[in-house]
């Protein structure tokens, strides 16, 4: 056995440790490709070209692509919004100033740490929005609170009440998942939305 | 004689590899690294395979195939990576672009 065989074999646990300790799922996918390439090299050096071919074709090509599709479609936070709000946001010249966009930007910065991406799904009216939340089509909905409701919520000393110039009433984000509510409640800094959590089973509502 | 030529080719390819890969460690833009890396990797790999071809001239079809696929795929992968990584640097393209 030659000396270089040991050195090449030592590369395999190195790459595997890199893969295991990687927290970002997309980086981990790319490192999985590297691990596949190095594994093919090791198998070849150890005298199994057929295994190396299988590793390169199935393990690297097929598995990485399938995992990429799976990670992309599962690590997503689906937020239902109303069609009118969305078109309202798109009509503006500078989209950063609309409140909905601010809410979405805030959500994006919060969920970036959790490697989730925020996907907006638009519905035509509020009933469809509520129904989508109940049917588990979306993880949360974000709608304009009605004026009376918003006044009520603002009244007991929420800091947003000191800004009467923000004409549109604040949005209300309702989620049906406790974990998402906890994350948003502790980290979301946007003042344009209020958060509430609705328990799907009990249908009781907890408003913060 | 021909052994020394092949060793020279392999050594030159190794120098290309190290030179191009060392740019990965610098803090330049992705496109700069991509350019240096693809050029030096492709040229270095071709030089190494050519050196191997001088060592074993009997097996030329396979090594020629390796050189051809290396040039084609590496240039194509370089273009694809440049296209994919440059969209968030430039202004946003239209969705169908």
């Amino acid at each position: 056995m030659d000396n270089y065989v040991y050195m090449i074999t030592a590369l395999l646990p190195l790459a595997a440790a890199m893969l295991v300790f990687q927290v970002n799922p997309y980086h981990a996918l790319v490192i999985r490709g590297m691990l596949g390439a190095i594994a093919a090299l090791v198998y070849t050096v150890l005298g199994a070209p057929d295994v190396a071919l299988t590793e390169a074709l199935v393990g690297t090509l097929l598995a990485v692509t399938l995992y990429a599709v799976a990670v992309r479609s599962s690590l997503v936070f689906r937020l239902g919004v109303l069609q009118e709000d969305l078109s309202d946001a798109q009509d503006h010249i500078a989209p950063d100033v609309t409140p909905l966009q601010q809410v979405v930007n805030g959500l994006n910065t919060v969920f970036k740490d959790y490697h989730l991406r925020v996907e907006l799904i638009s519905y035509f009216d509020r009933d469809a929005l509520q129904q989508a939340l109940m049917n588990k089509e979306v993880h949360a909905i974000c709608e304009r609170g009605s004026v009376v409701e918003a006044r009520e919520a603002i009244a007991p000393g929420v800091p947003d009440s000191s800004a009467p110039d923000s004409c549109p009433p604040p949005y209300r984000t309702t989620t049906r998942l406790r974990r998402l509510y906890d994350i948003m409640n502790s980290e979301l800094l946007s003042s344009k939305t209020q958060l509430s959590y609705i328990d799907h089973a009990a249908a009781g509502e907890v408003v913060s | 004689m021909i052994d020394w030529l092949s060793y020279g080719c392999i050594g030159m390819g190794l120098v290309f590899w190290f030179w191009g890969t060392s740019f990965l460690l610098s803090r330049r833009s992705v496109l700069f690294k991509l350019h240096n890396l693809s050029v030096s990797d492709t040229l270095g790999s071709i030089a190494i395979i050519f050196g191997l071809l001088l060592q074993r001239p009997r097996e030329w079809p396979l090594l020629l195939l390796a050189i051809l696929s290396l040039t084609l795929w590496n240039t194509m992968l370089g273009y694809v990576l440049a296209y994919c990584s440059s969209t968030d640097v430039n202004t946003r393209r239209p969705p169908n672009g």
């Binding site: 790319v30 490192i31 | 190290f18 890969t21 992705v30 990797d41 090594l63 694809v80």
Partner: protein, 86 residues
């Protein structure tokens, strides 16, 4: 210790550079760059091992890996790009 052995050692050292770059993660595209570097380097190393041992089955495997393996990375690059767009 022949020259090809030494060259293989140098290649292993060269392979460590993109691995280190991928470990020091900053941007996903830099990781993709090091992935393409690693994959072409390993394929060339397989070819060198095949010449070193005069074993031609290994060479065939190396050439197939070299010519087919890159297609998956282009697919992965496009998926990652779609991810950044949305």
């Amino acid at each position: 210790m022949s020259f090809l052995n030494l060259a293989l050692m140098a290649m292993i050292v060269a392979l460590l550079i993109p691995l280190y770059e991928a470990w020091r993660d900053e941007d996903i595209w830099q990781t993709m760059l090091s992935l393409s570097s690693v994959s072409s380097k390993t394929a060339v190393m397989i070819l060198l091992v095949s010449v070193l041992r005069d074993d031609w089955m290994v060479g065939v495997a190396g050439v197939i890996i070299l010519s087919v393996g890159n297609a998956g990375f282009m697919l992965l690059a496009h998926i990652l790009k779609r991810l950044g767009d949305s």
